[in-house]
Symmetry: C2
Subunit: 251 residues, 2 copies
Amino acid sequence: MKFDAKKETEKIIEFIRNYYKENNLKGAILGISGGKDSGVVAGLMTMALGAENVIGVTMPCHSKADDKCDAKLISDYYGFKLINFDLTNVFDGFKNELKNIGTFDLDTLKNSDINLKPRLRMATVYYLAAMYSAIYGGTYLVAGTGNKCELFVGYFTKGGDQVCDIAPIADLTVEEVIAIGEYIKVPDKVLHKAPSDGLSGMSDEEKLGVTYKDIAKYMEDENGVPKETGDKIKKLHLNSLHKFNVPTYRK
Amino acid sequence: MKFDAKKETEKIIEFIRNYYKENNLKGAILGISGGKDSGVVAGLMTMALGAENVIGVTMPCHSKADDKCDAKLISDYYGFKLINFDLTNVFDGFKNELKNIGTFDLDTLKNSDINLKPRLRMATVYYLAAMYSAIYGGTYLVAGTGNKCELFVGYFTKGGDQVCDIAPIADLTVEEVIAIGEYIKVPDKVLHKAPSDGLSGMSDEEKLGVTYKDIAKYMEDENGVPKETGDKIKKLHLNSLHKFNVPTYRK
């Protein structure tokens, strides 16, 4: 069945509004990476709640200024407030403290460093959410930007971008996110950028070794992709399950 | 049925060992607050994996030296490595960065500040887990210290102490955790301290407005506690459900 971007957009907006109404909530805050997922979620939250109730946050951390410009394209288009919280000094302060434990080479710290950034971003967005909730006298939720393809293969940081209070696009494939982005007019430059974590210097698809298109096909029909590709996707999926369900001892 | 601390301890150790064996894992790392939950989990992980495969981390953050001493009591008794990662400067660096957004009074930042600490601790423990995994050439998991009573009423920080890779005591009430602590000889001073988050200056039970004993009773039988107490517990429970299941739009 063809994906109906207009209808889904309306349903998502209704979902957000209902949840806010039922729980007596006020606003939304989200990290704006300058990529399409945060662009689309920012657009949807603004359409649902009004620009005056949405706050976007750019959180550069030793990163290129480009992404900040793209974030501004999004906030200018939708009209919500954009604030900048530079995490470079916090990150460096953390690394500095590490020296008290020992000296470690770059390779040893590669995975640690890559995942520290989204975790600091999560801590920052939640910090600001509670702060603006106090300032404006109503609860601000952290809007999540994970899409169905990323979530299926576990392409996110546990305790980082995974953590959110509402997930508007978690059931949409990358192509569906783009279709909605086109419908709600997320700026072209943002919508058609190759998705990248901005951390590792590689695109998402290079890192994963599979395309989002193939992930979407596989989710629909395991035999819809070549066997080797399917095996790769299945392995990524199985290896990521612990990110959703913590193994727990039961009496 | 009486809780059999010896039998449950053996079953938990078996559960941990099986999970490590099945997934070809190496070690465990955990934050040691100096309270009974981290004391008991540290003891269980050590008994399951051997002291050489367990690392405890103290993460003071503008906090009293007492807790660090209690952490040392635990690591001395079980013989695992204890490292200290002081988060005071990282926390202050974060607060310093906030000045670029504005000046906010203490009251506005109260909730933000209280929850920032466990989120920084989570980021730190995960940083070190990946680092030691690289150093020792095998995966270190972050062991969670949440117990059943805390989890039931949502007494933890979303994206903070909630985040873990294995949960050995998540199905045990506070009394059962203490019974296991007595059996595995967690130092008395640690085991019988009034549980406190070390953040707010109040004990857990003062903050919650209900006792852990009553929470345990309520979980067994909703009518096992006075109605007013039950209503309070029920409300806490319902208000915390979003911490486990993020509201997600489904097509």
